[in-house]
């Protein structure tokens, strides 16, 4: 089995200034194509540590993926260390990357400085995968068996997550081409509104009866719900059909909480339904402060069905812009079924959309009471056929509460769309 180590380089990780999210992403992709991640490692911006750690990992693994330390500034020393490690005799300028550097800087109205140009310089011994999203090229160093006792390849990726993940597809492709990997088939199912432990309980019997070579993983996420990933190993030819058979059984058990049978997001599923039926949507948000709108508009092409939103943080905005009657706020408070229903109806009328969703709650840390504690949210969904409201409670910090409020709002409007549009 092909083994890999993921190494992150940068003092900022060792002093705890940033959390390394790259390694987790890379590990998932490596696993998905049948590479076993045997270890992860973070090293500081220190020439000798970089070389000795990477040498040790290359002798233990066929694949070593390095991220970070490729920036243009003086504290980024990975490239020089890699040149030494690889025994490169000189440097070469990668034309394709240089063109990208020019394009990126020009588009931002910046001149190409010497330190920018230097980013296209790589040890002459390495191969280059162009980084289309940033200035530092991806370097590939291939070591013959003599060096570490087995053929080994080192991939150096930039540390910026956006760039590292953008380059990952090409890197994975290269790994698949150069190693004899076991085939694995993966399928993902998206659930929402059920806790990981409750989900595990509901599918316990099914999970226990899974064939030996089909693995299940739970991937909980506040914004997308619990993602279930099924991976089939073993006989490559029948992987697909065996996995489909398990999914069919699963649908019978938890079909009510599944919102997609592929790796997807709530906002994308909402967009697909609206586009398919030529319908429009708007949002009215209090406690979620624009996050619901932001999630809906994160989908490319959302302007086709998303018309707009009001973030009514202050009660005056709820009343004057959304037309929520002052009496409702006075009698029931802003965090109430009545208010959130009026907000949903108000924004639908204001923007002239077919559907709308509204939120009003208490994200914390302050502002709660015994009756209306921090973590309480009311969600309203509205269409011509009627308005429904839902009360939910969570128990977390402000950021997490807002995320759960927003994704719950998306789930509620998704269920309404599904019911009213698909029937």
């Amino acid at each position: 089995m092909t083994r890999a180590c993921i190494c992150t380089i940068g003092d900022e990780i060792l002093i705890g200034q940033i959390v390394d999210t790259n390694s987790s992403h890379i590990a998932r992709e490596l696993n998905a194509c049948g590479v076993k991640v045997a270890g992860m490692l973070s090293i500081g911006d220190d020439h000798d540590s970089i070389i000795s750690s990477l040498e040790a990992e290359l002798s233990r693994n066929e694949v070593v993926i390095v991220t970070g330390g490729l920036g243009p500034t003086k504290d980024d020393i990975t490239k020089k260390a890699l040149a030494e490690l690889s025994g490169a005799q000189g440097w070469k300028e990668d034309e394709e990357q240089l063109a990208i550097i020019h394009r990126i800087l020009h588009s931002r109205g910046l001149d190409v400085l010497d330190i920018n140009r230097a980013q296209a310089l790589v040890p002459e011994i390495c191969e280059v995968i162009p980084n289309r999203l940033g200035t530092a090229p991806i370097m590939v160093f291939r070591f013959a068996s003599e060096r570490f006792g087995h053929p080994a390849t080192l991939y150096a990726l930039p540390g910026v997550p956006f760039e590292a993940l953008g380059a990952l597809k090409d890197v994975i492709e290269d790994i698949c081409t150069h190693n004899d990997l076991q085939k694995i088939t993966h399928r993902t199912i998206m659930t929402y509104g059920i806790a990981e432990s409750a989900l595990a309980k509901r599918i316990e019997e099914w999970e226990d009866a899974l064939p030996q070579d089909i693995h299940l993983a739970y991937l909980p996420n506040a914004l997308t719900g619990v993602r279930l990933r099924l991976s089939a190993y073993g006989e490559a030819l029948t992987q697909q059909e065996r996995i489909e058979a398990e999914i069919a059984k699963l649908k019978g058990i938890i079909g009510d909480v599944i919102y997609s049978y592929e790796d997807d997001t709530l906002q994308n599923c909402i967009g697909k339904l609206l586009k398919q039926h030529g319908k429009t949507i708007s949002t009215a948000e209090s406690c979620t402060g624009g996050l619901v709108a932001s999630m809906i508009t994160s989908v490319a092409g959302s302007s086709e069905y998303y018309l707009g939103s009001v973030v009514s943080y202050a009660n005056s905005v709820k009343q004057e812009v959304l037309g929520v009657p002052a009496e409702i706020i006075k009698e029931f408070g802003a965090v109430s079924s009545e208010c959130v229903g009026a907000m949903a109806e108000g924004v639908r009328k204001l923007t002239g959309t077919d559907f709308s969703v509204a939120t009003s709650g208490i994200a914390g840390p302050g502002g709660g009471s015994t009756e209306k504690p921090v973590g309480l949210v009311w969600i309203g969904v509205s269409s011509q056929s009627g308005t429904q409201t839902y009360k939910l409670t969570f128990n977390s910090d402000r950021k997490r509460n807002i995320e759960r409020f927003a994704s719950s709002a998306l789930y509620k409007i998704f269920k309404k769309l599904e019911k009213e549009l698909n029937d």
Copy 2:
């Protein structure tokens, strides 16, 4: 200098199922008390790898902190591996932890099973720090100099972040008591609107003249700009004043792009200024789809100064809710100085705030033209003293463009607030 390694144990990290956030927290605390984190490591649930990796780290470091693998289930094997590594001859039951286990399970209405009780069992050779938040005790193994060439201590913490961080204070205290620690002072400066390379160019001379024992790191981030971190080692008594002297010089060189002299965010700096002067703000967003609002309201207490927003994705909403004249959109288009200025003024009037900020641009992937390409954004900022508009261009994917549009909008309104409120 006392050196430490942080080791995370668990297959769930190596398959990328969870992101390790413990290590970053622990690293921050260790650095703050003068322990240099020389490396971080993730190992799978494999007996031999655990032992060989920890032995290697104990010979390189005085402190090794292990998290994870202490749960009650079969796949948690850290404790057994540690018993072997430490040469422990037998096991002892920790009474204090057993009492905590009883208390925790009873409070959740659960019986104490044999596997729960077994969690209070530890190798007889170790010291115990009770884990008050969970069932697995913290184990402390002290190794005499003979074993690894220097005195070394291994701390084993549970993997659950809440429990690991809860125990951290006691662990840090133990480390401080048992090691002669050097002090390190860190200072962070936040910049915005300047690329990492351009920043490096501007401060090149200053950076080259930095004393040997003051280190500089660049930490770019799309939402907060480039963060500069200065770390002073060496003579503890003068660290603070030497770092302040360097910051004073830096202020003279790049004061115009610095928005904070501590680790901060734009939205937080905006909030502080508004609160301090009792002023209010609103937002009108097109292309950023609610992200500006969401960032502003991510700050606890933002309801004091943030009244609301309109996300005017459709032109009809721009006209009817924000009052942008139809002629402006017809003559100049929605992505124009005129439109974004009218949006900013419109939302300020609508919500009755002192300040407002508006965005209109093309996030992509579609919708661009030669004249108005994907990545173009107009930002408008408005107050009673006037309205200003700015044109910026970026060159990225949809998600990243939206992030840069939103953080640029925050920066522009921050500069306006700073100018009008601080003068």
